[in-house]
């Protein structure tokens, strides 16, 4: 944490600022909550990375006769309705679950932050119009919004990301706008205006760095929601098309065998839940750390 106090006189001046918006990972270890969350997420990321190398079966290898089998030595999590190995499908399916939600939320943060920054700082009619539009989007039940978007543009990885991003943007823009409304009245912003700084400088150098913490924590929670949403889309048959091992679709298909082999529905559901919980725990922990820092 301690920075060197002395800089040599010929210190290069091109360095405008060190990256300030970063989670201090060393500090994450101080919060057990954050640590558990991070461990869960890390587990799935590792699974997604090494999965293709460790899975015992291909995702489409089906074993004749081994339909809806409970966990056994051969299939440690059992098999599905086509005799495919659930463990292999779950591990390979982790790939999309650790990439699509962050992509969707990343896109939403980009959109929502831009909208919120401008609306909050400009105010007036611009704020009115943009925020009312966001309210319209927010007024739709989320699942309905997904249905409309996916039905309109078709089910594919990109479209799922777009749908989730569109549905997530309004909430983020509201959050950012709220933060900006507070920050823009701070005296350091007045000082910047008195130097004749451009709006872009004020937004991105003076205001945004101070809003970054809450945006980051909120984004993390939203990655959890997005995972859940993508699971729900898969469950409704609107996720990635069939050969892909989609956790939501796996849970949905296993419904027909829920009495016979409850584990087939349980494991994909647990997998989705664990990511949601992981994101929430990490976000809570980070929030706690940020608070204790003040």
């Amino acid at each position: 944490m301690e920075k060197p106090l002395h800089q040599p006189a010929n210190f290069p001046l091109t360095v405008i600022r060190p990256r300030r918006v970063r989670i201090r990972w060393r500090r994450v270890f101080r919060s057990p909550t954050a640590l558990i969350g991070a461990a869960i997420l890390l587990f799935w990321v590792v699974m997604a990375l090494v999965g293709p190398a460790i899975v015992p079966y291909g995702i489409n290898d089906s074993e004749a006769g081994a339909v809806w089998k409970p966990p056994s030595d051969k299939h440690i999590l059992g098999t599905d309705g086509l005799g495919r190995d659930l463990f292999s499908r779950l591990v390979i399916g982790a790939g999309q679950m650790v990439t699509l939600p962050p992509l969707a939320v990343g896109l939403a943060v980009l959109l929502g932050t831009s909208v919120g920054l401008l609306a909050g700082y400009r105010g007036g009619w611009f704020d009115e119009i943009v925020m009312r539009l966001m309210d319209v989007l927010m007024a739709f039940p989320v699942v309905m919004l997904y249905l409309i978007i996916i039905v309109a543009i078709g089910a594919s990885a990109v479209n799922v990301v777009v749908a989730v991003a569109v549905a997530t943007t309004p909430a983020i823009s509201r959050l950012v706008r709220g933060l900006v409304l507070d920050l823009r009245n701070r005296e350091f912003v007045a000082a910047a205006r008195m130097r004749g700084e451009s709006t872009a400088y004020i937004l991105f150098q003076e205001i945004l760095p101070n809003a970054a913490g809450p945006i980051l924590v909120d984004g993390l929670v939203r990655i959890g929601y997005a995972t859940f949403s993508i699971g729900a889309l898969g469950f409704l048959g609107l996720g990635l098309p069939p050969p892909n091992p989609d956790w939501g679709r796996m849970a949905s298909e296993a419904r027909q065998a829920i009495i016979l082999t409850p584990t087939a529905a349980l494991f994909p559901s647990l997998a989705i839940a664990s990511i949601v919980v992981g994101c929430n725990l990490l976000a809570d922990g980070l929030r706690e750390l940020a608070r204790s820092e003040e």
Binding site: L13, F188, A191, A192, M194, R195, P209
Partner: protein, 682 residues
């Protein structure tokens, strides 16, 4: 038997940075009917003492020692017993009355609740008592007040309600934690009058906590001075103010601008350094690092609280030396040579400045959307290198004037000419050169610097924007700026949160000066700082003004400070000028009645100071609907009749550039104000 007897109280807070030893070995007693003042800068442990008595300390705090309340140890008391004592026998009055009152209950509900919970009153009896108590705290029209909600009362009235609530059950001990700190001087003065009367009437013991020596001098019998968690001096009020024996007390008193001292005479005394962190206390005397009388012995051993006179304790090895005060006296620095007398040319001239805020009309256009006339027809001018002070209560439009001049708030009308530029335009239309000439220092040290920017970045930005130096000389220049505000290059890469309030404000001053402005607007730059730091920042402003030849527009509610620093003063009430002129003329009769009230409201750090009878009741009326005629007539103690309500007061000149806007002829005003004997006001 003493009402409160605290014996060797220790309080530690467990935190991430280790254990903060917030209170160490504190002993004090308060007898019946006695008011004990606990004074010190922020972070010295005063409030922790109050919380320990009430047993309100947070979970991470550990306390040991004895707190005897009428002989029973509160530290051992059961929760049920404590509940009985709090409110019933021990009451507390906090700083912010708004936080003490429940916003959704009427005053009647809140007052009677105290009686109904703690004692077996019937509703009718409780109401009677509440009513009687409101009368005793001198509330006008108590029946009406009972039906009000807290937000319908002014800050001063709210604090009276809180005081009434505390006194309802006739407690034996009342703890008051900065009860007047958030109030305007005029309101503070009348609340202090009230407290002075009540403490005689009720014969209760009061523990009065304040950072303001002036308030302590007015209201207390005995005073304890706390520094970094220790009681460093304790004495009767008269003895303490007449002959302090601890260097910290001496320094605190010396930091205050004395009535009559001017910036041209001497620099203020200031305490170097800062309060040591309570997690990492130095060995020996805690004040040694900042003490002008420090000797090697001071850092070697811890001084004990020893008797230095009758009822007078001081925690200092060198109290005998303090009594003679040679070193402290030598610490007075002469003021730098004064600015050349102002020429005829004016740097800033403001004519009929108006700043109105549009009030939104009601839903669907119903209701009247009038203008809030924050600044309404204000004129003044400022010569190069001079200091203009603007004073007035909060809500008078002082800050709005500064924001209007700065272009941060749109100007509605009038003409502002500054260094040849038209400054009525909003900031976006001003040229970079015009912007460079006028910079601002803000009030709140916590929001004046961007928390995410290092000091280097904060200071390099204006250098770049105003093209002060080529980039390769930037660091050198920033270090120069830091040195000018008595900081050094070790601060370059620190973030604002690693700085104390005073240091942040110094950086803010350096930022304002970076572009080489001709005028710096200072909007209450020291009001959020501790006394010792205030003095240092004032000196700094004064020195820099000389060195860098800037003019200052200094806005403050603190008249002593304005009197010390300003060459010219403008007194503002409800967006209008009441009085303007050279400082000496403003602070001597004839005064405008409003100025007179402001001057007499200042609590002085001198127990023998005469208390003047001029008190303002009520608060500033709404600028959305200002009174007709003279705007001050609703509160004016010298109102002469209907003319004040119907006609705007004429500008009366005394000849030396001093103008008073009042209907009363100047010679009559002067006669009234000099003839009047100071009256002890209850």
């Amino acid at each position: 038997m003493a009402v409160l007897d605290i014996q060797s109280l220790n309080v530690n807070y467990r935190g991430r940075r280790g254990i903060a030893r917030a209170v160490r070995g504190l002993s004090l007693t308060i007898g019946e009917g006695e008011t004990y003042g606990l004074v010190g800068e922020s972070g010295c442990g005063k409030s922790t003492v109050a919380l320990s008595i009430m047993r309100y300390l947070p979970k991470q705090a550990e306390a040991d020692g004895q707190i005897l309340f009428q002989g029973q140890d509160l530290m051992q008391a059961s929760d049920a017993h404590l509940r009985h004592l709090r409110g019933n026998r021990i009451a507390m009055v906090y700083q912010d009355p708004q936080a003490s009152l429940n916003p959704v209950l009427t005053i009647e509900k809140q007052l009677t609740e105290v009686l109904l919970t703690h004692q077996n009153y019937s509703h009718a009896e409780a109401r009677q008592r509440a009513l009687a108590m409101l009368e005793r705290v001198r509330m006008p029209d108590p029946e009406y007040i009972l039906r009000r909600y807290p937000h319908q009362l002014s800050g001063g009235m709210q604090q009276r309600v809180v005081i009434a609530m505390a006194l309802l059950l006739n407690p034996d001990l009342v703890i008051m934690d900065e009860p007047t700190t958030g109030l305007d001087v005029t309101v503070e003065a009348s609340v202090l009058d009230l407290l002075e009367g009540l403490r005689r009437e009720f014969k209760m013991a009061i523990l009065y906590i304040s950072h303001n020596l002036g308030v302590i001098a007015r209201i207390c019998d005995r005073v304890g001075v706390m520094y970094a968690g220790e009681l460093v001096e304790q004495a009767d009020k008269q003895a303490l103010f007449a002959q302090p024996h601890h260097p910290y007390t001496v320094s605190l008193l010396r930091c205050l601008p004395q009535r009559g001292t001017r910036h041209t005479d001497e620099l203020l005394y200031s305490i170097p350094g800062r309060v040591p962190p309570l997690t990492d206390l130095p060995p020996g005397c805690v004040f040694a690092a900042r003490c002008p009388l420090v000797q090697p012995a001071c850092t070697a051993g811890v001084p004990a609280l020893e008797s230095v006179g009758s009822n007078h304790l001081a925690r200092c090895f060198r109290w005998e030396a303090v009594r003679q005060q040679p070193a402290l006296a030598a610490a007075v620095r002469p003021a730098p040579a004064s600015a050349p007398a102002a020429g005829e040319s004016s740097l800033l001239s403001v004519n009929h400045l108006k700043v109105y805020f549009k009030q939104a009309a009601g839903l669907l256009g119903w209701g009247q959307g009038g203008d809030v006339k924050s600044v309404d027809d204000v004129s003044f001018s400022l010569a190069p290198q001079q200091t203009l002070g603007i004073v007035g209560e909060s809500g008078c439009g002082k800050s709005t004037i500064a924001r209007g001049l700065a272009g941060l708030t749109a100007v509605t009308g009038g003409a502002v000419t500054f260094a040849g530029h038209d400054f009525t335009q909003p900031i976006e239309r001003r040229s970079q050169n015009a912007l460079r000439q006028m910079q601002m220092v803000f009030q709140n040290p916590d929001s004046t610097l961007n928390p995410r920017h290092t000091i280097r970045k904060t200071l390099s930005r204006p250098l770049r924007r105003f093209k002060v130096v080529p980039p390769e000389q930037e660091t050198e220049h920033i270090i120069g700026l830091l040195r000018a505000v008595n900081l050094d290059e070790t601060y370059l890469d620190r973030l604002p949160r690693q700085l104390s309030g005073g240091e942040k404000q110094r950086v803010a001053i350096a930022r304002a000066l970076a572009g080489g402005p001709q005028l710096v607007l200072c909007d209450e730059p020291i009001s959020a700082l501790d006394v010792s730091v205030q003095a240092a920042v004032l000196n700094l402003l004064r020195e820099l003004q000389q060195e860098r030849k800037v003019a200052l527009l200094f806005i403050s509610h603190d008249l002593n400070v304005v009197r010390y620093l300003a060459d010219q003063v403008v007194v503002i009430y409800l967006g209008r000028v009441c009085e303007s002129g050279p400082t000496e003329a403003i602070f001597n009769p004839p005064y405008h009645p409003y100025t007179e009230a402001l001057v007499s409201a200042i609590p002085e750090a001198n127990p023998n100071a005469a208390s003047h009878a001029i008190r303002l009741e009520g608060t500033v009326p709404s600028p959305a609907n200002p009174p007709t005629g003279c705007r001050f007539h609703t509160r004016c103690p010298r109102k002469i009749g209907a003319i004040c309500e119907t006609h705007e007061p004429p500008a009366q000149e005394t000849g030396d550039g001093h103008t008073i806007y009042c209907h009363i002829p100047l010679d009559e005003l002067a006669a009234m104000q000099t003839a009047e004997k100071p009256v002890q006001h209850l």
